[in-house]
């Protein structure tokens, strides 16, 4: 374990650690462009030069391995002068169009030149080398003038997706990045190109001109697009999600997020959200207050007793599932959960990077809670035979499957918790509005059995409530209220009742999640075997 001193602070690091990583561990940031923790080292930007004692010249921090007794100065006069010089070279042909650049506010170049006070350029704007601007590459917009030629995008394409779309063309100060014949980026990880680009050369088409980044408020959460559970950050402004960006978690998604997941925030804002409760045949049209709807459901549940069936949804959080399970146990009915969404004709099923064919974020959580025992088929058969008097669905997935619709039609009272309006909700007698992943606190358990926190970023539409709250309201009406009145408390109850989750709470889960002991149970046949 070599020991080194960085800016007077001593640190012991693992062998093979580079100076920039050791500095980051100490909280010292070395300015850089081309270095990225999840990409191979290139060392071309020359921005991270640091002074190392007994070495005659400045060294790049990103590609210098820490050796025993090394003494590094990142902010010495010599190093800062080198940063300034490098920066000035990078800015020679930069168009300085920060007012119209979406990267402004999170741009390495901008941060650095503001830090060094390089406000005046020695090159007049007219004398600068002009390159191509506003090149539409499908989901990505290329502006070659802003590029600092750090090759992060090239390395991302080469090492993460293996598509090699980008290449440097021309020479000298006319060098720029380009795709062959300006072909658009077509793989499922294009959004990451905008994230890895340290400047405004590659920008997301989706986020283009939407808002300036300093207006955004961020919430750490998890992408609910599939069972990988990529760590993500929800950026919202005035209660409207503007974008979803990856959050680094080396164990799950590194620094990446697929485009399907990235665009999943759009479902949250769709105008077709269910915002109020509906009861078929209610005197005041179909729309009723949430309380009235819950009252009618509770009455039917009491009547039905063991003739009630419960179908959980793997879209729900662990808290939702636990509350739902408690509800099912209280009424004595049968319980299972539905994997997969039969109506999704998935074009891209899964790839070798992040995306998994199981597009439900919490299948593992449902399995961990002991669901999937009574059998979906058994419940559907019971519906068919008329044995089921009340069917409570935690999501509308079952209504969409062709083989179940006929059986469900025979059930006299169907309750569904729904997020979006859709034609199959016609089959339900009571529709309860519920929240989506960006609107609740809770936890998901991903395919690795990693329990991860999701957090409420935006308000839910209308009367929509979290699923655990709906289950809790019903339990209260049945005379057996839940122990908790918040997601945190329900998770504590869950942890106390479930062996694998013992001792866990929201603080223990933290920002990057906690892996449960034991091997993951194999999901049902529709889930993939491996990533």
């Amino acid at each position: 374990m070599p020991k080194c001193t960085i800016n007077g602070k001593e640190i012991e690091v693992a062998p093979g650690t580079t100076v920039i990583q050791a500095a980051a561990q100490l909280g010292v940031e070395v300015p850089h462009f081309c270095y990225h923790p999840d990409l191979p080292i290139d060392g071309n930007c020359r921005m991270c030069l640091v002074e190392i004692e007994k070495m005659p010249r400045l060294q790049i921090a990103c590609n210098t391995t820490v050796a025993e007794g090394m003494v590094v100065h990142t902010g010495s006069e010599k190093a800062v002068q080198a940063h300034r010089t490098t920066l000035e070279f990078l800015l020679v042909n930069h168009p300085i169009d920060c007012p119209v650049c979406d990267q402004a506010g999170e741009c390495y170049l901008q941060d650095n030149y503001m830090g060094h006070g390089l406000h005046e350029s020695r090159i007049e704007l007219e004398e600068k080398v002009h390159k191509r601007k506003i090149v539409d590459l499908g989901p990505i917009m290329l502006d070659a003038e802003r590029c600092v030629l750090c090759s992060r995008c090239l390395r991302f394409e080469a090492n993460v997706t293996g598509t090699n779309s980008f290449e440097f063309v021309r020479r000298g100060d006319r060098t720029e990045i380009a795709t062959f014949e300006n072909r658009p980026i077509e793989h499922n990880y294009s959004g990451n190109l905008a994230d890895v680009c340290p400047v405004g050369a590659l920008l997301s088409h989706d986020f283009r001109f939407k808002t300036r980044v300093w207006f955004l408020e961020s919430t750490d959460s998890v992408c609910a697009g599939c069972s990988t559970g990529c760590n993500a950050r929800i950026d919202q402004r005035d209660g409207i999600i503007q974008r979803l960006v990856p959050r680094r978690n080396v164990e799950v998604n590194k620094s990446w997020l697929c485009d399907i997941g990235r665009m999943s925030y759009k479902d949250v804002e769709l105008t077709s959200r269910v915002s109020g409760a509906r009861v078929k045949g209610a005197s005041s049209g179909d729309g009723v207050s949430m309380e009235t709807a819950l009252d009618s459901v509770a009455v039917k549940l009491k009547e039905a007793g063991k003739a009630a069936a419960f179908m959980a949804s793997p879209q729900a959080t662990n808290e939702d599932l636990f509350a739902f399970k408690t509800l099912a146990e209280n009424s004595g009915g049968t319980l299972d959960f539905r994997v997969g969404n039969p109506q999704d004709r998935l074009q891209v099923r899964e790839d070798s990077v992040l995306l998994r064919a199981d597009r439900n974020p919490n299948t593992q959580g449902a399995l961990d809670l002991g669901m999937g025992k009574d059998g979906v088929d058994a419940i559907v058969k019971a519906c068919e035979s008329g044995a089921i008097k009340v069917l409570v669905l935690q999501g509308p997935e079952l209504l969409r499957s062709a083989e179940a619709t006929n059986a469900i039609r025979k059930v006299p009272f169907v309750v569904v918790m729904a997020t979006h309006e859709s034609p199959e909700l016609e089959a339900a007698h009571v529709v309860l509005p519920t929240t989506m992943w960006a609107e609740v606190d809770g936890t998901f358990t991903n395919f690795q059995r990693r329990v991860q926190r999701i957090r409420r970023a935006v308000p839910a539409p209308g009367e929509a409530r979290p699923r655990w709250e709906i289950a809790g309201d019903l339990l209260r009406r049945l005379g057996a209220p839940m122990a908790g009145t918040s997601a945190r408390e329900i998770f504590l109850a869950l942890a106390a009742a479930t062996t694998d989750y013992k001792g866990l709470d929201y603080r223990a889960i933290g920002h990057t999640g906690r892996v449960l002991g034991g091997k993951p149970e194999a999901a049902t046949a529709s889930a993939p075997a491996s990533a």
């Binding site: 119209v100 506003i134 001109f209």
Partner: protein
């Protein structure tokens, strides 16, 4: 600091002199307003009060030669605005040199505090202030004025331009202070070093 104690004897009779003095002052003002130039009031709205060239009245959005807004929708004004009265939506204009422009630019004149920060913040000199100050409307909606009204305002010629950056470079002292702080705290002297020819 201790105050000075003044003792007033209220039992003394003032006599006629102060009364006459008071009358004289009133008469003097009457004569000066009737015949002289000391008139303090103006017959608004027929007559307008004179304002200085730095008067901060209703905003102007400036235009390019082709009539398009100079504004590039950088949101600097909306960011700095303490009243949060500026609402911008940006759009794309691929044919122009600068691809970003405001599709909507609204100022709620009732929320605006006329501080002029938007003028200071603008990097394009796209927003200026006029000397127009008679703001009248019959509803709140009417006083939320949009991009085209801000660009083309009939009364502008009548009132003239108000606060704008080149007449009085308010940013200069701020910039100088920032540079001095950089030098004293970080030892950085900004700007390119002098050329050695």
């Amino acid at each position: 600091m201790a105050g000075k104690v003044v003792t007033v004897d209220r039992n003394t009779k003032p006599g006629i002199a102060p009364i006459l003095l008071g009358h004289w002052i009133t008469l003097k003002n009457l004569l000066s307003t009737l015949f002289g130039r000391g008139l303090a009031t103006v017959s608004f709205p027929e007559q307008k009060r004179k304002t200085s060239g730095r008067y901060r009245g209703i905003h102007i959005l400036t235009q390019r030669d082709d009539g398009s807004p100079k504004c590039v929708a950088c949101y600097m004004c909306a960011t700095v605005c303490p009243a949060e009265c500026i609402h911008i939506e940006a759009g794309e204009r691929p044919e122009a040199t600068i691809e970003k422009y405001p599709t909507r630019f609204e100022i709620d004149l009732l929320r605006c505090v006329y501080c002029g920060f938007c003028v200071d913040a603008c990097p394009e000199e796209a927003i200026l202030m006029s000397r127009e100050n008679d703001l009248v409307g019959t509803s709140r909606e009417e006083l939320i004025i949009g991009r085209d009204q801000l660009m083309d305002r009939g009364k502008l010629a009548e009132y003239g331009q108000g606060y704008h950056p080149d007449a009085h470079d308010v940013r200069r002292p701020v910039r100088i202070a920032a540079l001095e702080r950089l030098k004293s705290e970080h030892g950085i002297v900004p700007g390119p070093p002098p050329r050695r020819d």
